[in-house]
Symmetry: C2
């Protein structure tokens, strides 16, 4: 069977371009016993994928040039030689090998996928109950350790992780301040997601002043999704014994040189601040705990979610690039 796949054509310098991707046709072999043919329905695109486009040691290996890009995905079974799976079943890749290549048809062992729960919208497996939701849950609860009455600031607040962080922090009794880019996003944060204050960094001439005004008691937890100057401004307001779960650095992912900025170390030292870099893989042994807690909040109506769903298999690279201009509200998903 002939399928289309999207490969990395070249390693980008700085911001990736559509020319860094290439679509090609390949032929899949016949299914062997125990295998299934997957037709993807939805792909997740995530900021961390930018890092995999570079060479070099990181927490997951880089994408190979001329090999398919891969990301989280929901698929349906098109053909099955596994007796536990029927055509039409909706599945997600098992957590032992959680990503699917960007391809219009994929062969996997039946044991490498698991069926989704039909009572949960399938795209939630890519967001709220997937990597972004778990990242929010463990980063905030395990590193941030929020206490009632504390002030939590979230950057990238309208993103797939940020909206979950803010809502969980509210559930813990915290004052929650979100930072996002654009009037529509900040309105969403306060109106739909119950943030106490949302700051539009694009529309605000003095972000430091806005943060100080929004945090009259300082910042106890700064959940950092963005890095760069926004984070510098928040860290200036950090309290003694503050905690900084360091989750993303989207402002820096496209840097071609070592980014330079004000040193945080004197502030972190004199205020006894904890900063912990983390990736969600560190918590793999606790995923079921996280999913259970998140699903419980969803069913109790305490946790909402929002997605930006763009369409088309050929549109995947452009959707990924859209993350870096902040085109998404909440989780960015591509329906293929």
């Amino acid at each position: 069977m002939r399928i289309k796949q999207i490969v990395l054509a070249s390693r980008p310098k700085g911001l990736p371009a559509l020319t860094d991707f290439r679509t090609e046709e390949v032929t899949l072999p016949d299914l062997k016993e125990g295998e299934v043919l997957l037709k993807p329905l939805y792909y997740s695109v995530d900021p961390y994928m930018r890092g995999r486009m570079n060479e070099g040691k990181s927490y997951i290996p880089p994408f190979e040039v001329n090999a398919p890009i891969e990301s989280g995905a929901i698929a349906t079974i098109a053909e099955s030689k596994d007796k536990n799976l029927q055509p039409g079943d909706v599945v997600i890749a098992a957590s032992s090998r959680p990503l699917l290549p960007w391809a219009t048809g994929i062969i996997r062992k039946g044991s490498d996928v698991r069926k989704t729960d039909s009572e949960i919208p399938p795209t939630y497996y890519l967001g709220l109950l997937g990597m972004p939701g778990l990242t929010a849950y463990f980063g905030l609860m395990d590193i941030g350790k929020p206490k009632t009455g504390e002030t939590v600031v979230v950057s990238g607040a309208a993103g797939a992780v940020g909206i979950v962080v803010g809502q969980i922090a509210k559930l813990q009794g915290c004052r929650v301040v979100g930072i996002a880019g654009g009037a529509e996003k900040v309105k969403m944060l306060t109106d739909k997601f119950n943030f106490d204050v949302a700051i539009d960094y694009k529309g605000n001439p003095d972000i430091s002043k806005a943060i100080a005004a929004a945090c009259p008691n300082g910042v106890d937890i700064y959940f950092d999704n963005v890095g760069g100057e926004i984070s510098d401004a928040v860290v200036n307001q950090i309290n003694f014994h503050g905690r900084i779960p360091l989750c993303g650095q989207i402002a820096l992912y496209n840097s071609t040189e070592t980014p330079v900025g004000p040193r945080w170390q004197p502030t972190l030292l004199t205020r006894s601040v904890l900063l912990q870099g983390f990736v969600i893989g560190n918590y793999a042994s606790r995923f079921q705990e996280g999913i259970g807690q998140l699903a419980g909040w969803v069913k109790a109506g305490k946790l909402k979610y929002t997605e930006t769903i763009e369409e088309g298999f050929d549109h995947l690279p452009d959707a990924l690039l859209g993350l870096f201009s902040g085109r998404n509200n909440g989780k960015m998903i591509v329906k293929v």
Copy 2:
């Protein structure tokens, strides 16, 4: 009684000068019931004192202009109106108010001092069993959490804290690499204090290369006493799940502007590194545990110490300034 005291004459910009201090004479009142007159014997001078010469919020209040400088000290009782203390007793200020002003005579309540143990050299109370030793112990053990076989790098290794960090790390079965300035200091670290490797940053044209060579398995714990470019070089070698107890930033204390440098955040994020700023006051409730452990190692011959003892009350400001040119080996103490 007339005494001399040394006050802060002006807040330094950048490196302090002797003209930022002033000696003056004042008259002490007569002793009241329960009070003692202290004659200082030894003063501690410590890098953190530079921070107190600035205005602004920090973990301890700044020195006041025209008020005496204060630091850790050992004193003898010159006169006593406290029945528990006799002239000639050697004392240290109680931990509730642990510093003494730079003065040739000081009045305190008897209940605000405690006698030292005559079996322990009195200056050890300012170093190994004092703030520097406790800083080393809690920073390494509580934040660094060393495991057998790990690699520990210490900057400012020949300083009052560094020599203790390195020795405790060796007691935990770690490979220990010290960074210090000068051939004499690095020789002391390997010959006297049993460091596996000591790097002379002053005599080394490529500090990054030297660190990489000394740490073939990368760096698991970086105990940072100095900040600046030395620390940048170490952090480049930090391992996944590395820990950085952030203890001092002597390279930055005399900065007049916000120091700028390469951002550590991408490294800390992708390698899941913990960075924890701390000051020893955070561990006040556990000081007895730390002192007990350190004293036990000293008595067992497992922990050595070295001091640079300079002389003269009037020499105190110059001794403090000497820390910033690295004039000390180990703890800097002034005998007055």
